[in-house]
Symmetry: C2
Subunit: 334 residues, 2 copies
């Protein structure tokens, strides 16, 4: 007798909760559509060679591969025939489950480019798959509710503001409590660090990781680490970093004033300020209440593929949950 149960790391709801969950997805979808985003659904599996082109590192190690009974038997035979010298990499299965909705979007746009109108606004609400080790709060299967605007050449900064207006509309209607969209711009952050002599992106991330320990370990610990061996920053540099990432605005005018107070720097730095100012003005014009957004110059989004505006959204009453909606502008994905 096999006990009927779900695999670890998946969510399954009883009907009452499923109804509430479905209502939430419907609210998100309706708001996406209201702003003119078009629905896209992609297959759960992509060709492995396509899916894994753009990724790497941690993500790639968490991919699920799918093999039919027949393919599995063949693969097993193949590995056996190749003997102990064969590497699993050689026999990479044909199909892999999507681990996010961004790589499928890049493939979709590249494949259907001539049949789409640009800027292409799409939304996609589907489940994604991660080969996580089973642990509390980590899911192997979960929904993502993505919106993206894909430009062909230059993409106006007004789309950055539009996305923030969509986020505001969604969370307002969901009614899950007060929230704040926290804004930053990678150009501003990059320009700032470069001005301090920290030009390497990975190194910037290392510094930010230490700064992130402020709450838990205190300012003295962080200062000691960053001025110590391994980092070797000057005390003045560390002070400048701590002051920079501590910037939070309260209200619209305050946000603009804080940008002014940053002064001027490299072209990159100045461009980051200009973009942030424009996004702030635009979301204000779009009617997003100033209590629902702020500058937060510590937002880094992992410094990976984002190139401009970045944001995270926090529930005011539950900061410990972390960001419940994040993203940013990126170039050259495909």
């Amino acid at each position: 007798m096999i006990k009927p149960r779900t695999p670890p790391g998946v969510m399954e709801l009883l009907p009452r909760d499923q109804i509430a969950f479905q209502r939430m997805l419907d609210t998100i979808r309706r708001n996406y559509e209201r702003f003119g985003f078009l629905p896209v659904e992609t297959p759960v599996f992509e060709l492995s060679e396509v899916l894994l082109t753009k990724s790497g590192g941690e993500t790639e190690r968490q991919v699920y591969f799918a093999q039919s009974t027949g393919a599995l038997a063949k693969a097993a035979d193949g590995v056996t025939a190749d003997g102990p010298g064969s590497s699993p990499g050689q026999a990479l299965p044909e199909l892999a489950l999507r681990f996010d909705l961004t790589v499928p979007l890049a493939r979709y746009v590249a494949e259907h480019e001539h049949e789409l109108a640009f800027p292409f606004r799409r939304y996609q609400i589907q489940r994604v798959y991660r080969g996580e080790r089973a642990q509390r709060g980590r899911f192997r299967e979960f929904y993502q509710c993505d919106i993206d605007v894909v430009g062909k050449d230059a993409l106006s900064i007004r789309f950055d503001a539009e996305i923030l207006a969509v986020i505001h509309a969604v969370f307002s209607e969901l009614g899950i409590g007060d929230f704040t969209v926290q804004l930053n711009n990678r150009k501003l952050m990059r320009g700032f660090f470069e001005g301090l002599g920290v030009a390497d992106g990975a190194r910037q991330m290392d510094v930010l990781r230490e700064v992130d320990k402020l709450d838990k370990r205190g300012a003295d610990y962080v200062r000691e680490t960053l001025t110590g061996e391994g980092f070797g920053l000057s005390a003045a540099t560390v002070d400048a970093i701590l002051a920079f990432v501590a910037v939070r605005s309260s209200g619209h005018a305050d946000a603009l004033a804080r940008l002014d107070a940053l002064g001027q720097g490299s072209d990159t730095f100045n461009q980051g300020i200009a973009e942030l100012r424009e996004v702030l003005e635009l979301i204000h014009a779009l009617g997003v209440p100033e209590s629902d957004y702020c500058l937060n110059l510590s937002i880094a989004r992992g410094l990976d593929y984002y190139t401009g505006t970045v944001y995270e959204t926090q529930l005011d009453g539950y900061p410990q949950i972390g960001s419940i909606c994040s993203g940013g502008r990126y170039d050259d994905l495909a």
Copy 2:
């Protein structure tokens, strides 16, 4: 350079078609909910040992298994270590993708039995996965839109009629043309074949498969096969079978009259007639127009797990498509 493309055997739509498709799914969902069916979603993968308990044969050969990068590497090592004598069956992966929504339903009901109210009406609209060989019209991934009523002990026959009323509501609102729900009852069919001395279900299916060639090969061919070696039925028996499976009603009164004309037989046969009559009366009472349903005593649904009412739905203008909505009553699934 990897060419961006989807795997063979999956559907991917451009936004305009996706909108139409989404509208269709919404119509189906709204009608399911209007009849009091509750939403259920299950994870895309089930534990292999749970998923494959109830299945077998062709279906089991078409299952997709999912393995994370790590599990795959381990499995490859394992097979290599076991040497050429190891069977793929020993190393069955932990997770398998659902190949229908019925086995997950059985698992869901068994797992959550004490938290559900019976009769439990659920709908489930999700994709399923089949390791099909790529060929025209065969999909590796496709949507199923299931409704089921799960009883705890006896389940009133009125639910058979209710399901047919839901089908009628859905296809009427979809507006994809005239359609006919074709009804039969496995008890009637079983009783009829038993009365002719063909008691074995698999043999009944063999006979029906030959009868199914009527259109293409003609009556003489079918008669010759069924009276010839291998089947060895008498000419009178074959005539009776051909007359039975040819029964189609036109209109409600005609359907009842044709049931009367079948006379009486074994208990099973008579029970099949009684159930069909009750379902006909009930759907009539539920306001389903009599032009939209009929008796079709050739409907067999593969003679697998169905035990009572069975039905198929055809688009009147496109009979070559075959059934676009099928099902029936079954007992003892879990």
